[in-house]
């Protein structure tokens, strides 16, 4: 268990990077989405943004909860997209395509996050 010493593997760094990306997207969603909601537009972005910020923070803390929060936001995104535009591929493209690609990456981080979590638990136990 070489990582017990706290050295991060490449996959862990990539996971953290993903966390940063999600956090930044979340912050943009909260700020710009808040603006949009104030202008009378959709409230999806600000609500989704709050979940994404939480997701990003938890991922940066190495918590699996971060990944699950992202997947929850993705589910919300799909439900909202289908409600807004139905099964129209052209219209689903901007709404759900990017988030789904990101979602696949996030799913791949779950084992990594689990490992980080268990390491922390072990450390905690020492």
């Amino acid at each position: 268990m070489p990582n017990i010493q706290g050295n991060r593997t490449l996959t862990e760094w990539l996971t953290l990077l993903l966390g940063v990306v999600i956090l930044l997207v979340g912050l943009f969603f909260v700020i710009a989405g808040g603006d949009l909601a104030m202008l009378g537009g959709s409230t999806y972005y600000v609500l989704c943004g709050i979940v994404l910020v939480a997701s990003g923070v938890f991922m940066l803390m190495g918590r699996t909860l971060g990944a699950f929060l992202y997947l929850a936001a993705l589910a919300y995104t799909w439900v909202w997209s289908l409600w807004e535009v139905g099964f129209s591929p052209v219209d689903l493209l901007p709404r759900a395509f990017g988030p789904t690609i990101l979602g696949i990456l996030v799913a791949l981080t779950i084992p990594v996050l689990r490992r980080m979590e268990s390491r922390r638990t072990l450390r905690g136990a020492v």
């Binding site: 969603f29 537009g41 052209v90 709404r95």
Partner: protein
Amino acid sequence: MRRSHLLATAAGLALACSPLAAHAQFAPAGSGGAPSAAVPGPGNASEPTESSPKNQGYFSGPSPYAPQAPGVNAANLPDIESIDASQVPAMAPQQSANPAREDWVAYGRDDHQTRYSPLSEITPENADKLKVAFTYHTGSYPRPGQVNKWAAETTPIKVGDGLYMCSAMNDIIKLDPVTGKQIWRRNVDVKYHSIPYTAACKGVTYFTSSVVPEGQPCHNRLIEGTLDMRLIAVDAETGDFCPNFGHGGQVNLMQGLGESVPGFVSMTAPPPVINGVLVVNHEVLDGQRRWAPSGVIRGYDAESGKFVWAWDVNNPDDHSQPTGNRHYSRGTPNSWATLTGDNEQGLVYVPTGNSAADYYSALRSDAENKVSSAVVAIDVKTGSPRWVFQTAHKDVWDYDIGSQATLMDMPGPDGQTVPALIMPTKRGQTFVLDRRTGKPILPVEERPAPSPGVIPGDPRSPTQPWSVGMPALRVPDLKETDMWGMSPIDQLFCRIKFRRANYVGEFTPPSVDKPWIEYPGYNGGSDWGSMSYDPQSGILIANWNITPMYDQLVTRKKADKLGLMPIDDPNFKPGGGGAEGNGAMDGTPYGIVVTPFWDQYTGMMCNRPPYGMITAIDMKHGQKVLWQHPLGTARANGPWGLPTGLPWEIGTPNNGGSVVTGGGLIFIAAATDNQIRAIDEHTGKVVWSAVLPGGGQANPMTYEANGHQYVAIMAGGHHFMMTPVSDQLVVYALPDAVKQ
């Protein structure tokens, strides 16, 4: 899609072409609370007067009495004399009235401007075998150090043994229609600084003289209007100037226009001849100043080039040429579309633009308000309108008409046919009128406008006309959920842009406090590509755009800060605010800022695709849509201007029109994917496509020579559509013809 903003092109075009205009001593009576009862900017009939001190700020441009700027080629020509309409010789029968089967005699092939050819060698079955027969290089493209203002937009004509065309800079060329070899070329020496918004030459006019006997030079002649405002006639056989036309084959069209600078006014469309009268319109650069040069429409004797009449909107009863210090009334609506003639009715159908300063209407006269963004049918004997049909009332959206009217016979109620005129518009409303009276044949409704307007003293028209009998070439008003993008990030950006703007649907009035969304945008709907009509099948082919604009009026102070100044300002810098959207609108309280409704960081339009469509309408059976498809693939478009290479028929903005043939095919380029394609007229299926060496922003044409059918397209590109410039005319044929 970066190229999408080609729309912008259109926009630019529109801008470039719809000068606002107004006119001096005209009190804008009736336009409630217009800022000035004594607006300066002298009109033709008036003597020069001192502006009152209170109005001095209003007309700060050069005096209209100042001499014409040096460098305008036309200025070097002596004035042309006038003759009475009764002295115009009777016109010989023209080939355009009834073109030979194998010919394409006029811009829209025939006098009806149908863009229909009966040729049928190329069919949906064999079109996929089309090959390049030849290409011809016009040699006209931007040289190092020149701003790219090129968009040739040229459609050759084919008469007998000649394929005749002009280069983007107006050189006239005769080619062998089989080999593409140059037979002669008449260089006319148009200077770079004479290019207005766009270096374009849509075509030349073929005219057969009744005065010069057959076999003599200039019996058959080619006539063109130039970017530097000359009317030129050359012999079809040799390309030599016609000595008996104007002064050595040239007429100075700047005569009577008053102060101008090169590039402010120009001709880009072929002038038609109706009963011996050559009718000339010209483009005036949009958005420059309220008192821009006049949009006057003029008639000349096609035999001698002598002046016959003028229709000057604010001096409707004076049809003569101004003399001395006088000039045509400034700022009046100009017409830059290709005109359609009608020998039988003795009319020319003039699609008009807007008065100068497109986005502010308080300084316009009542006379201007009646004829802007309209079809005006002018009697070629008198120069007076016989009827007017307006397509947008008190236009402040740059809905000038870019399309050419197409003539057809409509089945009437009692079994007779009604001589009809089809007028496509940028609004995507297509009006079908009785060309004898201008009365709608298909119903037109005056519907309430969504807003009375918000600019003080500049109220909007309470109603606007809608052609409810024709399919609308538009999508419903935009909603927030129509915003698009590559990801939720740019989509969110566009949603905010949408919500930050004023928008109450079509005819949202101009505003200063925040931007307003203009949809349909100034690229159309339909633009100069116009429509093609197959009189055999009764199918009308329309290609059109879905390209909203994002506009905002700015105060004079802000306009100055933005560096907006008119083209005739000594400090004017090309590209520093001009016709490409933003305009100084000098002489009004506001400047205008216009951009496509896009994500300026990715260059992609904010609204969802498609951005361009093609529609077939059955005119014989209730004006139903037979089929409708997106036009143009994503192959050459993408975020940040990067070509995606995708064959996805996303529907791109398009500029340029179609041809429909007896073989049941439509030929069209127009889209920003730089392809030409053949489409089955009856199904809408694309049966052939080929990549062009440049953007195909021109109307194609087809002809037969040596027993074989050819299809020609000028792949000149379009600066505003951001498609690649080339100087190549590309001509396709089936392998049998190419072998020869």
